[in-house]
Symmetry: C5
Subunit: 322 residues, 5 copies
């Protein structure tokens, strides 16, 4: 689906909706640039774009099939940047990924979105900053990359919360067994890492190298994005190490609790074994057992058993076994 | 066995089957190129090829003995690329590897296959794309590398499924003990990694460096292959880390279950210990035990024992021990 | 809040408090430099500074929002260095971080602090060293970086103590279960690492590269800071490995103790099982059990039980089970 | 001990045994080269060689004392290559290492062997390949390095077998406890790694750099050796990761088995506890217990106990506890 | 404390003790060099040296405060090398570290020692090698670095022994619990690593770079030192991995032993439970229990109990539980 077709001239949008060819024509002389937005395009829709803007065969293949890694490809005809948008789904404790492809050429920028990757705000916000828009199609690229990277922030925060939750579970006195959740969080963290980390190098290249499509004025902006990105990547790396430690700590806690259980159980077994032994003694059939003839022998023995139990109970309590 | 001998001219195959010498002669002037395919060649078969095409002594040794690592060797006479083809064998949950050697020279490409590594489709599909074939023998190299790398995809998917299976095993309530399977999957993943990861660097060199046998037009194609390859390598790295975590999580689950068992067992032991103590009490031989003389003493005591058991059972149930 | 505005000329501070514009004016000719200090500035406060000193839009954004990684950005207008100040809070066993931004331009240095990051001493101490002050605004940068890095020292020492404490806990005979604390220390260590490690590269660039704002005389000073910084980073890396080992050792200790408990419990169970068996024997109702008729049968059996218990107790003691 | 002294001219060995000085003299003009072989030389033996061939003081020190790491030293007088030969000793499941030092100079090659490092075949096989011998002393170096690296192959295969064995042990139903063997294999693997891995860089330098003593024709040969070497190094790295996983899997298996034991034991305890309780009931001394007066009360109770045991046994069997 | 002041000319020491100024004067023309040795100098002692030899302010700070990392600083005035001397203290199973600072300038070398770092032998041995001494102050630097690195050897050997000891402990049948010692060794190994590893890079720079103070003739000597150093560093890295494996193997052994204990205990419990059940049976009060009336009923039952115990004992023995 072609979502929008716009032409920008001197920092502001030309009024009116345009056909693809008109957009192409309008941008031929390099004074304007066209921004074509597509969402999950069919092969035919995309073919028409390819035809007008003369994109490379391989770039086209990328655009139809999702499941790319973040990357920056430099063709003679322009740049292709692939991005992964991420959104945390609270209810399922997992991250949903979308994919955004940005083709930047001389006089045009084409964006293709797959899955969850809204870009409307990006365009509107960029239209408020004519001084950026004036820098040409790479400004649109910057706006998109900046937006996608900014959106990683809430996901990171959500993971921070998840990790705090499992930490609380691991060290709480309740006998939760959070191994499954720890593992699930780790799995999602690894997925997020796989989606974000490969973007560092492309952004670095946008900042550092002398791509003719990226004007010098934009470089500090891409560096700013890179700063954020690296911060997120480092945080995720920290999560990985933390989760490994949590898994180990959890195993220890499970063992510690088992130990406590074994001791508690054993204490009760000991408490009950002593009166049982006493009953055994007075259940013996010796002819000469003076206590058996005592009038208060029975209640006395019951009392002895009760006292023995109480003393043992107190002793185990003190030793921390109960 | 020499599977096929073909000569390509201007993007299409010359009709008719050829002898080796004819192929060699036909390609001498650089306007055509020969494609010789061999499958598990004997030393003599390969010697005849070597003789015609003047390959390096060491390259020959590689071609006869399988068990190479993926690599790219540059000789004066041309390139030697070694590839590992992989296929997932569902029934055995393991990966079968084949080996493909591609010698690319001025005017010829020679492929040698060991084990499972079918290339027929590659040739047929490439013959449909004359614009690629026109780029010379390196196009055949590209077609083969692309094919081999694409075939890693289903293997990766199969491992994803295996990992999902062991995850389900680890966290299911059934007392499966998937340690053996986790380990087996890890072992296969490591093998796959060893077969795939070393290919990244050769493909990178095919893309980046100025090998005179690789025309500039092919470079984006090799970069495309590299993109896929790196994605697969990163996924396998993710699998390795996941499997390490699964192994740890599994150990924790085993401990948690042991803990549950110990508690359940102890609860039952406690439930049975209480009536046992009571029987002990009324088994004592004191002369003065009024309860013993009661008419309903016996059923009363049985009832007390039953009630005690029920109360204990309920208490343990509430505490989550049963 | 603007904390202070000063102009330095020829190594010493110009007397009197200055307005922002005056400071800016005074430093225009490059013979003096202004040092503006701000603490948690509002957007307006900072805007006035930006306006006078012509800072980059992105640098401004950084200054208002805290939560940057340590970094060095080079703009046309000057340098931006972001630092993390760290302070160990004994009572909570955690590290508190502040953030310091230093803008260095031709003729001025602007510092912005967020959170805990006192700089008063820095300025006063630098004012005692006119030979450094004479080197211009980069001397102020050096003084600040040196101060921040020096302050990491006590934090490192505090962690050394924490680690020594948990080591003692792990291997003490008391049944402490320090898993939670080990994990907490590890968490703080990872945070500290994330705050310190990224600073190495900026300091290296200050030392090595040919930034025109950093005079050659200052390079050995930045190298000295780098030396300290690397030492701290290496120590933290050592902490991480140590803590991983401690976590593993702790798990082993927990298992060892469980083992000891199980043996101790079992020993007591065995000690009590033997007299119980004996009571069972003499509780049997056989008509012909000569011992039952003996006058001293009962005390004899009690004695036998006592001796059996004592012997078992001694045997278990020797075997190390009790 | 000086094992052999030979002079090679134009690809073949000069007949007759030579004295050291004669060898030295013969090779002065660069048309021939001498190959001196020493085995565990004494200081005096080696001194005579040093004296004739003018070796560097430090190289000499290396030659007498074994325990070097694999390395390549370039002196003005020539090259020194240190190699570790490895042989797997089946009976002890360990690797024996020898050390080979190769001094290559203009017109001579001197080999010094310590421990197990036979080189006879190397020389004989090289003498069959005059086209290599003609390339001068570096050909001898190639032959030795190739031989040493090829000999790593059987060691790798032996470790593969060892690892397959411990895998079988870990997952077998027999209660082997292979932790000791796993550890022993890991230890040997680490030793082998330490002996092999540092050789990669020297071989790479022999292949790539422009050492004047290594003719261009030999470079593909050294690259071939490097290929093998890297394959072995990667396999050893795979072994390390596998062994770490095996150790973890083994711990899990130990826990799983403990769990099974605990359940089996508990099941038997439960089976015996029920008849014990019943005997307790009928051991009570109530006056009114009608069952006690039944003629078949006793056999009935015995039958009830037997049935209870059987039912419990079957229930536990079904639950997988027995 | 100034330990010694010497002037070397043409490879030998000038006779007589000198004052600092005389030494300085004597070496001004570059034909001689002075060697000043200090041990834990006070600030004043060092100030006098600084004053004469014109050292950099920051180098001075380093010299007074110990606790540097090994490093090489290049100042305009010369070099500063910081070294860590290590000595294994058998009785405490730990490593004691000293610190040595070497200032090398044009015509002088100044050494400052803190803690355990004897250098007497170094000077005496160097004075026996005039051909080295003639190379100037860098020869003294070489002699010191060589000495310090050689001294790491015995420490490595001591750790090898420690590791062999803990291995024996872990796999011995005695129930040692060497977790504490394993951890202690690991801790010391990490400390040693932190002291040695950072020295590699400075030594490499001494060997490779074109520092004007280091004559070309000395480079092979520094490379020799580097070889030793790298070997030690690699060995320590091996220790780290081994110790991690030992810790894991130890945990497994602890679990295995617990398993054995649980089985042994359970076997004994089963052995005692059977006669207990039998006593229960004959303790029942049924009127019709024919065995009770048998003359040899009692000894028969005792015999049955004994036989049951023996059979069970043998069965458990065979099953490996006892």
């Amino acid at each position: 689906m072609i979502v929008d077709t716009a032409v920008y001239e001197n920092g502001s949008r030309r009024p009116g909706k345009l056909e693809l060819e008109d957009a192409y024509e309008a941008c031929r002389d390099g004074k304007r640039f066209a921004w074509i937005e597509l969402q999950d395009p069919t092969e035919e829709e995309f073919d028409s774009v390819v035809h007008e803007f003369n994109l490379h065969e391989l770039a086209v293949e990328d655009a139809i099939q999702a499941h790319q890694r973040p990357k920056l490809d430099v063709y003679d005809e322009g740049l292709l940047v692939v991005l992964k948008a991420a959104r945390y789904i609270e209810s399922e404790e997992r991250v949903a990924f979308g994919e955004i492809l940005v083709f930047v050429g001389d006089g045009f920028v084409i964006t293709v979105r797959h899955g969850e990757a809204p870009l409307d705000h990006v365009r509107l916000r960029l239209e408020q900053r004519p001084e950026l828009l004036r820098l040409g199609p790479a400004a649109a690229l910057y706006a998109i990359v900046d937006h996608v990277v900014d959106d990683y922030g809430p996901v990171i925060v959500a993971f921070e919360q998840d990790i705090a939750d499992v930490e609380a579970d691991v060290f709480s006195d309740e006998r939760a067994t959070p191994a499954k959740r720890i593992y699930a969080v780790k799995r999602e963290v690894l997925k997020l890492y796989a989606a974000i980390a490969p973007l560092v190098e492309p952004v670095e290249r946008l900042e550092e190298s002398d791509l003719k499509l990226v004007p010098d004025e934009l470089r500090p902006y891409f560096r700013d994005v890179e700063d954020h990105l690296i911060r997120y990547v480092r945080e995720i790396e920290g999560f990985r190490e933390l989760l490994t430690s949590i898994l180990a700590a959890n195993l220890t806690q499970v063992s510690v609790r088992q130990n406590e259980d074994v001791r508690k159980i054993s204490a009760w077994a000991a408490i009950i074994a002593v009166p049982t032994l006493i009953t055994g003694i007075y259940g013996m059939n010796f002819d000469h057992m003076p206590e058996l003839g005592w009038t208060f022998g029975y209640p006395l023995v019951l009392a002895v058993m009760a006292v023995a139990c109480l003393l043992l109970h107190r002793a185990f309590k003190r030793a921390g076994w109960l």
